[in-house]
Structures are given as C-alpha cells and as structure tokens.
Symmetry: C3
C-alpha cells in the first residue's frame, strides 16, 4: 500500500480485509511484525486520539514512531512558494516534509483545511502540496475534507455492533457547537456509510448543507454499493427507523471562511443537541456515534453519551486497531 | 496486579518481592518481557522524573508508551459532571480517560490535589474520579496524598544503602520552600517508613503538622510492622540517632488552600534548610534523601547535597527500577 | 566509545569505519542490535532534525529513547553554582542531568552557546559543565562550537556523492541571515572538511572571520590529512574549481554577543545569497550542501535548492544513519 489517503481508493473487499486484519491483530498480537520500522508523525494541526493511537499502534507491532507537532518550538513552517524567507519562518515545507519523511518507513500527516476558499479545500490543495513532496508511503491523519482512519474505524465499529451494511439506516446529523468546525469528518463519514451500502440521511439545518462535490462523491459510492443518500432538515423524517446516528458539528458551507456570518447562523440552532426524544421513531437499539472530542450538553446530552446507545469509546479504540491494520499492510513483510 | 495505587494495598512480603524483582531486572535485563505492550501515560500535572523514568522503563522491558501531558495543545479537559460544555474545554474526562486507557495495556495517571477542601484531597476525590472511569490496570503517578512509585523507590534505596528496616531511625523533615507544595510525598513517605518498620519522626514547625488521617494511617502501619511514629518541632530531639533524614517542603495544613496565610507562616521558617549542623547528634553515616526536584540553598545546602550523605541520585534512578518491577508484575506473562 | 563529542577525537580510519557501518545498517537493518537499550535525549536548545533522527535511529536498532526538551513544562533549570534557588528555577542541572542520564544507557545533550564571552564558548564551558556531571556515555547533539553528528553525516554525504577527499575543493561560505546564528556548524564543518583531506576555503565578508582557534584547529587537521585551509572574501577566487559549496550563516566574531553591531554589519551583505552565478567558475557538477533549516531566497535561491546541485535532503537523512553507527558502536554488544 503506497498511500492510505481516501477510503474511495479501496474496494469494499479491500476494506473488509483491513477490518478483518484489525480484529485479528487485536485477538492475536504480532509484536514483531514491524520490528525496527519507524512511522514519522507530522502534525500541522493539534491532536489527541490520533497522536496517541498511532504511537500505540506502532509499539504493538514492534516498531516505533516519532512526533513533530505544533506544540514544539518549531518556528512556523513556510508553505508559500517563491517567497523570500526573511520573516519568522525559518524552514520551508519543501525541506521539512521530505526530511521528516526520510527518517520513517512511512509518514502520517495531519493538516487541516485552510478555510479560505472552499474550492481549494475541496481540491485538498494544502494536503496535496505536502504529499507531493515525498515518495514515502503516507497516511492521511486528517486533511481538509477527509479522515480515512476515522472512517475505517467507524466501519469496523458498526461491524462489531452488528449494524447492518446493506439496508442499514445511517443518519449523519449536524449538531450545534460554539465554533465553526472543519468538514473533514462529516465528508468522510458520509462517503463511508454510503460506500458500506447503507441508506444514509444527512440531517442538517438550512445553510449547513454539505458541499455539492461531497454529496456527489457519496451518491456515486452508494450507486456502487446499493446504498442511498438523501438529505433533510426534518429530524422526524431523518430518524425514522434509524439504526445509527452519527453526530458532528460542521461549519456552514454557505458562509465558508466567514466566521461571523457562520456564527450568526449556527446560533439559531442551539437546540440541535442529540437527546433521547430524537430517538422516538428510530429503531429501539439505535446507536450513537461520534469521532470525539464531544461537548456534553452541547452536541449531545449526558443521558445519551453515558447510556447504552453510545458506542463512542469502542469507536475510539478502533482507531488504533484500524491503523494497525493499515500499518501492517503498508510496512509489513510481503507474504 | 490490577492497580498500583498505594503501598498500603501490599504486604511487606509483596513489597519485598517487587524490590527484589527491581534489582534482578537491573542486573539481568529482560528486553522481551513486555514485547508489544503499551503503557498510556496521562499527566494532568507536570513531570520530569516520572515522565522520563516510565518511558525508559517500558523500553527496557521491550514495550513502549505514549504521553498525553499538559504541555500539549489539549484544550483543558472538563472534569465537572452535568455541565453544559460551551466554554473553553472541548473534551470531558469521561471520554478522554477511557479512550487514552483503551490504547494501553495499563495506564499511569498523575493528577495533583485540588487544594481547595482538604477533606476532598484526603478522600482522593479527584484521582478516584479518573480511575473510576476505567477497567484498565492503572498506576498512581502521584495523586493528592499519595506517590507509591516514589515510596517503592525510596524503600529500595534504603535497602540498597543498608539502612535498617527494623529499628532504623527515619526523620521526615519539613523544609522551607517559597511555594506551598502538595502533601503527596510527605504523606506517602511517612507511611512507607512506618510500614518498613522504622522509628519515624515527623519534624516540622508548628502549623505544618500533617493531617490527622495521614498520621493515623502511618501509626496503623507502624503497629503492624513494629515501627513507631512521633512528631516534634524540636530538631535536636528529632535528629538524635537518625539514620536518614528525608527532607520535603509541604503546605500548612492549618491554612490549606489559603496561599497568603500559608506564605505568612512559612516565611517565619526560612532557616529550615538542611545543613551539616543538623547532623550533630545523628548517626555518623546518616543519609540525606529527597524526591527531587530540590532547591539548593533553600531546602538543603550544597554541602549536604554534593557530599557523601546524599543519596538522591540513586534514589531517583530507583524510580525507574521500581516501576519496571511494577510493570513487569502488572503486564508480564503470568508464570 | 565513551563519548562522541568531537570528530577530532577519532582517526580518519575510525571515521571511515563509522561511515561504513552507517551504510551497512541502512542496507541491512539490525532491529535487535540495541534491544531494550535507552537513549536519554536532553535538549536545552530547540531541535527538529536532531530530535527526530535520534528517536528514529534508536527504534531502527530495536531500542528506544525519551526526550526532555525546552518545550516541556520544566521550570528553567538553574546552572549557576553556589546559588540560593529562591527564584523561578526549581531544579539545578547538578541533579537534573545525572538523573536524566541515569535512566539511559547513553545520553545525547544539546546546549547552544551562551554568546556572551567568546573565550567561554570556545572553551565549551557550558557543555562541559553538563558532561562533567555524568559518567554515562554521551553524544554531543550540538554545543557552542561543535556538531559532530552533523559533521559525520556531511562526511558520509560527500562519500555517497563521490566528492573526492584528497584534493577535493570545499568552499565553506558565509551567507546572509536576519539573525546572528551560532558558530557550531561552521566550526565543525571547517574542521571536518580539512580532516577529510580537502582543500578548504572559508569564504566570508570582512568581520565574519571564524575565530583564530577554530581556524588553527582546522589547519592542524589539514596538516595531518594532506588538505589545506585558506580564507578569502573574494567569491570568484573561492569558487574556482570548487566541488562543493557548504553555505551557512554565522554571527560576526568581531561583534560577538553584540546583536546590534552584528546586525549593522551583516545587513551590508544581503547579497550573500547563494545562486547560480556563484558557480560560474566552479566544477560543472559542484554540489550545494546545508545543514538545514535554510531560509529560501535569503541564504540560497530556490533554483539552487530545488535543482540538481542540492544534496541537502540526503545530507539530512544521513544524520539518522550516522547516528545509528555511533549508537551501535557506543551501546552495541562488543564482538
């Protein structure tokens, strides 16, 4: 595997094999599989779960990693081309990224959206500018519009909890949050559920529609897998027969990059906090998922998060297992 | 071993076995004992020795670790229950702790005292609130009133330096320090020395008595072990025949949580800086111990710290060895 | 090997053996060579390449490391002797360094120059004050006037690119940079090239001469190796027949520690940015080297850095390989 950048690059069979491998590595550890192998971890955006789970994953497979993160005393890396670097930045990504990559057998990179022009973020210009600099195998640890490690973990989590793939009803719901958050997780999640063959409803207030190319990508995936994609702002309609609700806040596409307008719009929807009444016409055992971190009493009520519907902790643990499978395929001895 | 939280949970025989194991792992490394095993390290309070020694310990046993610390760009973790999280904190400990724990085979947690109500700190409400969230084996890396890793290392250090257990005279002395420091180390140290069977004297100025439940716990331990516990503010009386003086500053119990009153009281005792004259009627080879970091010229003189009485460096190295023994018993293959 | 502090401590044969070992470990990994071994990494000055490459090196050899760095919530370490520590610093290097060293089988230390009195920095007073505190094998990860890991990597890089040792022409060129940078890399580089047997020219504007003892050390090395050392401010003369130009900015020796005077002088030389016209009378295949990080458009043009002359990325990767060789000799089983 040269890159783990997008679930769309893999067939459902390949994804099934990764998930099976993840389960096998959990049940039957292979602490020598990646002996002496190094994963470079480059965070240009903050992290907790990703940071911890990748380090743990490499140790479990007998290798190791090192972390370069924005917490460190790195002078801001310059990203602009053709610039005279007489300001604060002492290093350009054109040197930093290849060098960091050269110390590893693979590199994980996290770089959030620029959040200026949506076309650029949809085109992943920032993330591509980084991966174009290297030949090393790489893993997308969250880019402007993608988060394939989260999606692989989410897919496995639904398998683990017997949430049906074909015909399972999946609701991706916007939720209120005081800040305008990236589109990476909702975009990746929508595509993942559609590709898994589920009937997916995007539930969001007006103004929080996901970008058309993101919807279209999911629709194509659904066509291949036998699933479907719809969207609505009607909660009752969306939740009818739902087997899982995946909550996530995201910024308004309508006001992309305009914090003030976004805030004004989102503050009209303080009531979008997932709570028990949401589940009135869902399946009895409808599950609650979230990528974490999650704000209690804002995105979801304590009752749901602490109750039997919530599978957010095993979902987070599956991050580690899913990544172990990816690393095993990427760096392990070819059989 | 499900938890390493308090020396009081272990018999003296069990402690002896841990110390013997620590020595054995030093003399005969076992670099495959914890192959592929992961220790999650969660620091909610800063650290140097604990941070370094646990990481080193896991590598020496063939495993690894990852660190989540307050230095990182983690938005302050919310600890309050039933709160609407619309402020700065983006994640609640109810998610963060189980998730971090789920990536490891065991978790080490450091969380200092709240220093508001002493009853809460004596009840370890803050630390227990964290460990109640997990099923994973855990290690107390310093809580409000305990520091069992330090105590195990200290016990081993006295064994290494032939300081007698039964009948050995141990002085735990308060010392001046510009800040009001936690009670964890003095509380744990007092109990450790009493449990080891030593005749322990707590030497402190008026107003710096240790809390009654801490004294009582040590007295019970002494009753079991054949040791004794007394307290005094008379240096000559305390140091008579002493075989070891363990210096540590701590805050005034009388003014717990009241920085100003504490400061006013402590500034009357600037002369509580351990120096050679303190040893006038101690045993000739009386040793000096301290958990570090230590302020030179404030807590102890250069002469003592750089002289033959001081065993603070081997004491600090024993942190690593003691923790290796704990990790080996907690995570190693059961024979 | 007890210390890797200065290339001058090693014969050219010993350096050749290290470089051969570095190449062998790259071609034939030894992921069990340092099983269970720990490298303590103490950074008193910031780092990216050194931080990453040492961690990766230890993993590749089957061991591990831990990092103590200025990014951490360590209260400034006190370095002064005989001080009453009633200020900010809570720990003295006399405890911190031996303790950190005691957790590792070897320790790497980085501590930049004080940049007050040049005599002190030339005498490495600051770095020696640290290494004198320990018995553990140690590695100089950059001191006031040395950077032996960089030099070993640079030597290997020239070998890899068939730049001749005997009679090869090496230009160490000053370049403009907005800040007054340390003398460690130029000093180490000059000595390394001279010791390798090359004809070395130091190209720098008036006022940026390297200190006399640094020049003298290189001249002695050249005498032994059959190389030569000259200096000039004439670019054409320097570049005549050059096979490699190693660019680096450094502070003015004439105004050492005087930022303002240094800045005034350096700003007269904004045109010292390596660009294609510099190579007019160099060898056709003259290479460009730099230790990184490098400021584009300030120290060197994009054209050079992105073109075929530049070998800065393999040079940076050789840091890891060179350090693996040092660690292998220092910590590996003696055959």
């Amino acid at each position: 595997m040269k890159a783990f950048n997008d679930l769309a690059d893999f067939s459902n069979e390949e994804i099934g094999a990764l998930i099976e491998l993840a389960g096998r590595l959990d049940a039957h550890p292979e602490p020598e599989a990646l002996k002496g192998k190094v994963l470079s971890l480059l965070f240009l955006s903050p992290s907790l779960r990703t940071l911890a789970s990748f380090q743990a994953a490499m140790v479990r497979l007998g290798g190791g990693s090192f972390v370069i993160s924005p917490d460190m005393s790195i002078h801001g890396l310059e990203v602009r081309d053709g610039i005279v670097m007489d300001g604060v930045a002492a290093e350009h990504i054109r040197e930093a990224v290849p060098v960091i990559a050269s110390y590893g057998d693979a590199i994980g990179i996290r770089a959030f959206a620029d959040r200026k022009k949506i076309e650029n973020d949809l085109a992943e210009t920032r993330f591509s500018a980084l991966t174009e600099l290297i030949d090393t195998p790489y893993i997308n640890m969250e880019s402007a519009m993608n988060h394939p490690c989260q999606s692989l973990a989410d897919w496995k989590t639904m398998d683990d909890h017997n949430i049906p793939a074909d015909g399972g009803k999946f609701v991706l719901s916007w939720a209120y949050h005081p800040k305008a958050l990236p589109l990476a997780v909702p975009s990746a999640t929508l595509h993942m559920a559609a590709k898994r063959g589920m009937d997916v409803t995007v539930l969001r207030p007006e103004g929080f529609e996901l970008p058309a190319p993101i919807m279209q990508k999911a629709i194509f995936a659904a066509e291949d897998s036998g699933g479907s994609v719809t969207e609505t702002s009607d909660r009752n309609e969306a939740m009818e027969g739902a087997q899982v609700i995946y909550a996530k806040s995201w910024s308004s596409t309508r006001h992309y990059g305009d914090k003030l307008a976004d805030q004004k719009l989102r503050e009209q929807h303080l009531d979008w906090c997932v709570d028990e009444p949401w589940f009135d016409n869902a399946k009895d055992d409808c599950r609650f998922m979230h990528c974490l971190p999650v704000r209690r009493g804002v995105v979801v009520s304590d009752q749901i998060l602490d109750g039997p519907r919530s599978i957010v902790i095993p979902e987070a643990r599956n991050r580690m297992l899913a990544q172990m499978a990816v690393l095993h395929q990427m760096l392990g001895a070819k059989s």
